[in-house]
Symmetry: C2
Subunit: 202 residues, 2 copies
DNA sequence: GTCTATAAAATGATAGAC
DNA sequence: GTCTATCATTTTATAGAC
């Protein structure tokens, strides 16, 4: 039973619409975008709220109107995405545990990753794993990743198989330093990564 | 041509012996060990020198006797390891560009990783990629990783092949969240990872 | 080689005006 | 919804005694 904050004094409510309306983003959404970009580029802890505010052309205080803490920026980004992942996990858990289910699971996860900014969010987590162990959002996300891994390979499966399954997920997330050719489109990378991932779970 | 500091006033010299003598480590080495552990666990930026000092039972000032800056701790860890990698790259570059060379390259890199703490160092880099883009050591290491990737696959190779080669290297580094079973030994993991990596470069 | 003490700057966060 | 001003804390780093 979680406490309900009835005395909310700002737009900081639980679930939010985000940037799905295609037009110019509101401040809250712009904060999320800029913050995620800077966090991914330079590191979560290394990026100060001052920096974020400067990039947006506002003051720190303005950020604090939209988010109570620095953590909450990440948490807000994770919230809805986490729900989507949980949905996908629930789907797979209810299906028969066949190879075809695992394949379809990867396909759906690949789709999920390319909705809105989920791909960039996972990239952020990959690049900030150490920081994220100390933050709720990171612990939550890691928990889901392990659940996903459990769906792909049993805990007593041969070690190489387990590694291949980890890599399958990682392949989808990562542009790691795969990105030597800057002309490759997101769509091409997505397709290639899914191809590799599917090959890894055979 | 790099500047030579002739007026060195402390043990901060270029190349050092490190922990290769099996006995109890000197302070400098203990700082390196503890720092790397905390950096990997909690994040580079999130780990303060105060924390490191406390874990060692000394004061911050003592750290500054051994390392001029926080950066220098990482740099000192990277120095000799970087040389080893460069050596390996030079070897591979001189060999004929065959599949067997690439295989042997991975085997040798896997060996390298399990000398001393190289494995833990790469784990640190994997988990702190974002922070490290802002630090010299990180930029250097990333450069070497890209060189390694160039040895494994041409820049105009099909995208899936490129991805598989990235994953091959990553598989060796990573215990990612592969580590669901805590009873698996390092040696087992190493062998399994090499197995997977070799399969990926076919 | 390690300590005490402290400087100088930056950071996350808040109060209150507009 | 954004601003100015400010606080409390922490951080990296240094000076100088022992």
């Amino acid at each position: 039973m979680t406490e309900v904050r009835a005395t909310e004094r700002s737009p900081r409510s639980g679930a939010r619409l985000g940037a799905e309306s295609g037009g110019e983003a509101d401040t809250r959404t712009r904060i999320q975008q800029v913050a995620l970009e800077l966090f991914t580029q330079n590191g979560y802890e290394a990026t100060s709220l001052r920096e974020i505010a400067e990039h947006l052309g506002v003051t720190k205080a303005a950020l604090y109107y939209h988010f109570r803490t620095k953590d909450e920026i990440i948490e807000s980004l994770v919230e809805d995405r986490l729900a989507k992942i949980e949905e996908l996990i629930a789907w797979a858990a209810a299906e028969p545990h066949t190879l075809e289910t695992r394949r379809e699971f990867l396909r759906r996860y690949a789709d999920l990753l390319h909705e809105q900014g989920h791909h960039t969010l996972m990239r952020f987590f990959e690049r900030n794993q150490s920081s994220m162990t100390q933050h709720k959002a990171g612990v939550m996300m890691r928990g889901r990743m392990i659940q996903m891994l459990d769906l792909l390979s049993a805990r007593d499966a041969p070690l190489p198989e387990q590694i291949r399954c980890s890599l399958a997920i990682f392949a989808l997330h990562s542009t790691w330093f795969t990105v030597r050719d800057p002309d490759v489109t997101d769509e091409q990378r997505r397709e290639a990564a899914l191809d590799v991932a599917l090959g890894l779970i055979e």
